[in-house]
């Protein structure tokens, strides 16, 4: 049976697939796509074979930086990234949370040295749900605080 495409294909750009249901809008906000000049397609609660449902975000003419991929990993670690060129998937990879997160988040502790000099660094303490430990002040940061600090 032919698979029916629920959302239109893009010519060039990035498709973030298998986003945990309900997280698509967070991904949109995280990547600041509300003000993106090209087209962005958001599909929510799409039936999936892997999970019951999933969200999808398609971004025309945009590739993600490593920092952006790491940011997505913090809120939707099981997603996949597809790079599309001329309607073809030229690269597909699963987003994995690295063991160490550098630079993209500030420490929640106002007295942490990383807020004064140098840049932030976190050790991934737990993956599901994500818990980070500041490399410097050793303070733990849980999911709610991570989302707040990602300004979502």
């Amino acid at each position: 049976m032919k698979k029916e495409l629920k959302v239109s294909a893009i010519k060039n750009g990035t498709v973030i697939d298998h986003i945990r249901p309900g997280k698509a809008l967070e991904v949109v906000r995280l990547l600041n796509l509300e003000n993106y000049e090209d087209s962005v397609t958001v599909a929510m609660s799409v039936r999936s074979s892997l999970h019951k449902t999933k969200d999808i975000v398609k971004i025309e003419n945009r590739e993600l930086s490593e920092d952006e991929v790491n940011e997505i990993a913090l809120i939707a670690p099981e997603s996949t990234i597809n790079i599309i060129k001329d309607y073809e998937v030229v690269e597909k990879r699963k987003i994995e949370l690295p063991d160490v997160i550098k630079g993209i988040l500030t420490c929640m502790n106002p007295n942490c040295i990383s807020r004064k000099e140098g840049s932030s660094k976190f050790i991934v303490e737990k993956r599901e749900p994500v818990v980070l430990r500041c490399y410097y002040c050793e303070r733990l940061m849980e999911e709610g605080e991570i989302l707040k600090r990602l300004r979502i």
């Binding site: 502790n109 007295n111 942490c112 040295i113 990383s114 004064k116 000099e117 140098g118 500041c134 490399y135 410097y136 002040c137 050793e138 303070r139 733990l140």
Partner: protein, 305 residues
């Protein structure tokens, strides 16, 4: 075990083997103080205290002197280049040029870790804000082991401000390596943080939380910390609990043979009348800082293995 060039930043970096090794070496050091009087001859220790300290700083300086090493220090960092806007990274990189090892205390959490990342010589953390003070924990463990003859199998009570006190956080974390039972005596407002309790649970360390010393039961050690009045949002709450957390001569009946420890300084939580009792070991505890810090300096400088 070779600990040459190792930084001593956090008790979290240490394995049980590291801790046991340092305790064993400290014991040897205490027995051979005189023999080691020239062990660190020719070495220079810089003490960088960006926050006031009496005991820790004097203890490190004494330890270095007893090993024949030299000490240089910044008397008032606020009046030095730090006040001119120099970064901590630049300050320690400069001090590195003059010394073989740096002992530092800083008001910001994580400062010692940052320093250790930018210099090649060993850094010993003597307190980074409310975070870690690993040499205090090591001397606490050394004291418990020395006074009780063991750590495994003991019941250790901690009393006072367990919410904000970094010494009790580090000590509880380190004790999780041993087979101990813990008792936390605090008012509701100053309970041990849930992060530490979760950690103890994962490590299978049983603990009890009580609010009065009369419920302590059998304990081998009572570790007392200062309750700071300013932590209480309502002064009336402080008034309610302050009496309970005062060790008076009559409290000794409840404590039996429990050894009383305190990281010092104390304010009024242990009556001076207790000092002469056989329970009081807090001044001996302070003295134990010397062999432990002598050992750490010798290990990280590679003059002891």
């Amino acid at each position: 075990m070779n600990m040459k060039n190792r930084d001593i930043i956090s008790i979290r970096d240490m394995t049980k083997e590291d801790i046991e090794y340092i305790l064993k070496k400290s014991e040897e050091m205490e027995k051979n103080m005189k023999k080691n009087k020239n062990l660190l001859n020719g070495y220079v220790l810089s003490t960088l205290f960006f926050e006031p300290s009496t005991r820790t700083r004097l203890s490190f300086e004494s330890a270095m002197n007893k090993l024949g090493g030299r000490v240089i220090s910044v008397a008032q960092p606020k009046a030095s280049s730090v006040a001119k806007g120099e970064t901590l990274a630049d300050t320690v990189k400069t001090v590195e040029q003059y010394s073989d090892v740096i002992v530092m205390r800083h008001p910001n959490e994580g400062a010692a870790r940052l320093a250790a990342d930018v210099v090649d010589i060993p850094i010993i953390n003597a307190g980074d804000g409310a975070n870690q003070h690993p040499t205090q924990t090591l001397l606490d463990l050394y004291t418990i082991n020395k006074e009780c003859g063991k750590i495994d199998g003991l019941s250790i009570a901690m009393m006072g401000d367990l919410k904000y006190g970094r010494t009790v956080h580090s000590l509880a974390t380190a004790l999780a390596y041993y087979n101990v039972k813990l008792i936390f005596i605090t008012p509701e407002e100053l309970k041990m943080p849930s992060e530490i309790k979760k950690y103890l649970k994962n490590k299978g360390i049983p603990y009890r939380e009580i609010s009065g010393i009369d419920e302590i039961g059998k304990a081998d050690v009572l570790y007392v910390t200062r309750i700071q009045k300013e932590r209480f949002p309502d002064p009336a709450d402080y008034e309610k609990v302050k009496g309970i957390y005062k060790i008076l001569p009559e409290t000794l009946d409840i404590l039996g043979n429990a050894k009383i420890m305190h990281p010092l300084p104390r304010v009024d939580e242990i009556s001076p009348e207790i000092d002469k009792s056989k329970n009081a070991i807090y001044f001996r505890q302070a003295r134990n800082g010397i062999p432990v810090r002598m050992t750490l300096l010798s290990l990280v400088l590679g003059e002891m293995e």
